[in-house]
């Protein structure tokens, strides 16, 4: 966070330094593509696709540059401001606002082929729309699912939910109660970053939290629908003792040893965590993927897709978009999705049989794709500060039992609106 603020300060100064342009080389066009693929299989798939492109297009060479999720925001910000940015940029939709509003990304509205525009659903396009422009192509996404110890579920005799008949949040609470006892917990919530998990899952219960008024200004209102998910977690941890209190500050990976050892029966995780589970689960550990519980709005949940964008400084935007079109052909997107253990946003790729197998819960995830909506906070200016200064500590304190629902509401609304107001003068 600190480096982010300071990188922003750096960016301001660098604006004065002017920019240089990247681009061609001896008549041959060279495009630098910074990929954030990091798992073994997805790095391999991406590199293969780049090589295939280069073999077919000797005049437009794509250079693979490895980026890192860990530092992508700071690194891109300084690269953009310094005029040294890659031509094609891999990122996530919730990270694009600064770059799009800052004029660093090309508006792709009139550049993208119709095939791509019509294949990806409007909801996904919404996540990359800032003002009137389209600043990226959302191509991979992941719902949050419950990864369960199949044997524990079987032994307890609880009804196993499916995307057609999911648990309600109340049912989920009862089930975790039944699965607890003897030092074991029904669920372990890894909530190191509690805000996005809470907000995205709250869409299922009709939670909206951010309300846009007729004047276009956004205010925070913590209403009935917003209460469902936080209350369930709070009660599980503090009343039912069916959720482990120690994992509230953990990341997803930290909960896996407990899941494998039978300490937790279920862990809510991003869909791509299956890769780690498949790789690390001890022999004989039987696991299955269940849909997250449903509320008044069914299985709806928020996501922030991974995106591919073109830098505004790129002198060969047409060629860059042609590469995107190649990379995101349905059969290629399927390879990327399988490599990252995520879901493609494109309808044709999503229909591929390889993504509908029962193995590793692919079919369950694919069935959830239609319920995914843009993450609620995506376009709210001031969201990062609201999240860091107000929502994260408030939710952490509420989940651990230090404060009650009334105080949580007051802090999210009162303190939160003060923060947002500063961004909306």
């Amino acid at each position: 966070m600190r480096t982010r603020i300071l990188a922003a300060a750096l960016a301001v100064v660098l604006l004065l330094a002017g920019c240089s342009s990247g681009g061609g080389d001896d008549g041959r066009i060279v495009l630098r593509f910074q990929s954030l693929a990091w798992q073994d299989e997805s790095v391999a798939a991406t590199r293969e696709l780049v090589e295939e492109w280069n073999a077919r297009h000797p005049d437009v060479r794509v250079e693979y540059v490895q980026g890192s999720w860990d530092s992508v925001h700071d690194q891109l910000l300084t690269s953009f401001e310094g005029g040294e940015a890659p031509d094609i940029v891999h990122d996530a939709a919730d990270d694009l606002a600064d770059f799009a509003y800052g004029g660093h990304l090309a508006d792709l509205t009139h550049l993208l082929p119709e095939r791509l525009r019509s294949d990806i659903p409007p909801g996904s396009w919404e996540t990359v729309t800032f003002g009137d422009g389209l600043y990226g192509v959302p191509f991979l996404q992941e719902p949050r699912v419950l990864v369960a110890d199949a044997n524990r579920l079987k032994e307890s005799g609880v009804r196993v939910p499916t995307p057609e008949h999911p648990w309600t949040w109340e049912e989920f609470r009862q089930v975790t109660k039944r699965l607890s006892g003897g030092g074991r917990y029904g669920v372990a919530w890894p909530l190191r970053d509690p805000v996005s998990a809470t907000l995205n899952l709250s869409l299922s219960a009709g939670g909206q939290l951010f309300h846009r008024g007729p004047d276009g200004k956004v205010t925070v209102r913590f209403e009935e629908g917003d209460e469902v998910v936080p209350r369930t977690v709070h009660e599980q941890v503090n009343t039912d003792r069916s959720a482990s209190p120690t994992t509230l500050g953990s990341g997803g990976s930290d909960t896996l040893p407990g899941l494998f050892a039978g300490k937790y029966a279920m862990v809510p995780l991003g869909f791509s965590y299956r890769q780690q589970i498949a790789q690390q689960a001890p022999e004989g550990f039987d696991w299955q993927v269940l849909p997250a519980p449903a509320g008044a709005d069914g299985l709806t949940q928020g996501v922030s897709p991974q995106t591919l964008s073109v830098a505004e400084d790129c002198p060969h935007k047409k060629e860059a978009v042609a590469f995107l079109d190649f990379l995101l052909q349905p059969e290629n997107t399927v390879r990327l999705a399988l490599g990252d253990w995520m879901l493609p946003t494109g309808r044709r790729a999503l229909a591929d049989p390889a993504l509908h197998t029962a193995e590793h819960g692919w079919a369950t995830g694919t069935a959830l794709a239609g319920h995914l909506r843009p993450a609620p906070a995506q376009t709210v200016r001031g969201y990062p500060e609201w999240k860091d200064k107000v929502a994260t500590p408030a939710l952490q304190e509420y989940y651990s039992g230090a404060i009650g629902l009334a105080e949580l509401r007051e802090r999210l609304e009162k303190d939160g609106n003060l923060v947002l107001a500063r961004y909306q003068r």
């Binding site: 073994d40 890192s68 300084t78 040294e84 990341g251 040893p257 791509s272 001890p282």
Partner: protein, 277 residues
């Protein structure tokens, strides 16, 4: 003064505790580097891998250009250490031996410069390097590392120079040695441990540095090891733990080797700097 047995035992216990505190993360890193995925996710992890494997190393080398990055890091760190010492040694000598108002001002500046966080420096540095066309180049990075380590190197070396008695130089002068001869034959050898310690400090600082390298280097083939290590970390901080540990283990080796080789000289150097003659 004699130390009682109990006090001595207490000292050793404290020393041992400190050693464990220092060694624990490194030993854990080594242990993790040799564990297969299933053992990484064990609820009760063991110190010694039950089923040790080199797969993490193979994967780390297969996925990332570790050797090239290590070479870049080595070049940058060595160059930074050499330049820092070459610049700092004569400056330190002058500052220590000629206590003029200018020397005092310089010493004050060195102390004040330590109070600035590096992120404040990177802005002007970036602008200067951009004008010199040194962005995305190892010489540019070396320049930054030298600027970054120089104040502390100077401060360290000044202490070492002060510890060399001026009387020795005067005695040599009386015996007819010229200024250059005195520096090379009398002061130089006595200062050697200090120079080595300072060079090592500059080397390790540059070897481990991440933020400057991240911001200043763009081309994949120029990236240094700390930047490459972050490629094993995915979205939401999920780490590819085995290969990350394997690569990080290899990244710590050069520092360990350098320390092991010149450890005795450093101890001497530290004492030379610490004891007032």
């Amino acid at each position: 003064m004699r130390t009682s047995a109990a006090a001595r035992a207490g000292q050793y216990a404290a020393l041992l505790a400190y050693l464990v505190f220092l060694a624990f993360p490194f030993l854990w890193l080594v242990s993790t580097a040799f564990k297969p995925p299933a053992e990484l996710a064990a609820l009760h992890p063991t110190w010694i891998p039950r089923d040790p494997t080199l797969a993490n190393f193979r994967q780390a080398f297969g996925e990332q250009p570790l050797l090239r990055a290590a070479l870049n890091s080595l070049l940058a760190a060595l160059a930074a250490a050499v330049v820092a010492v070459v610049v700092a040694t004569p400056t330190a000598y002058v500052t220590a031996r000629h206590r003029t108002a200018l020397a005092k001002a310089a010493a004050g500046w060195v102390v004040v410069s330590q109070a600035f966080p590096f992120v404040l420096l990177i802005v002007p540095l970036f602008l200067v390097l951009k004008n010199l066309r040194l962005i995305d180049s190892l010489p540019g990075l070396v320049l930054v590392y030298v600027v970054w380590t120089l104040p502390f190197a100077l401060w360290m070396l000044t202490g070492y120079v002060r510890a060399v008695p001026a009387e020795l130089e005067e005695a040599a002068a009386v015996d007819g040695a010229g200024r250059l001869r005195i520096l090379l034959s009398v002061t130089g050898p006595l200062l050697a441990p200090g120079i080595v310690a300072t060079a090592l400090f500059a080397f390790v600082t540059a070897w481990n540095e991440f933020f400057f390298a991240l911001v200043l280097l763009k081309s994949p083939e120029k990236q240094t090891l700390p930047v490459i290590l972050t490629h094993f970390i995915g979205a939401e901080g999920v780490a590819d733990l085995g290969p990350l540990a394997a690569a990080a283990f290899l990244a710590t080796l050069p520092s360990l080797v350098v320390f092991a080789i010149i450890q005795r000289r450093i101890t001497g150097g530290m004492l030379a700097g610490a004891v007032k003659s």
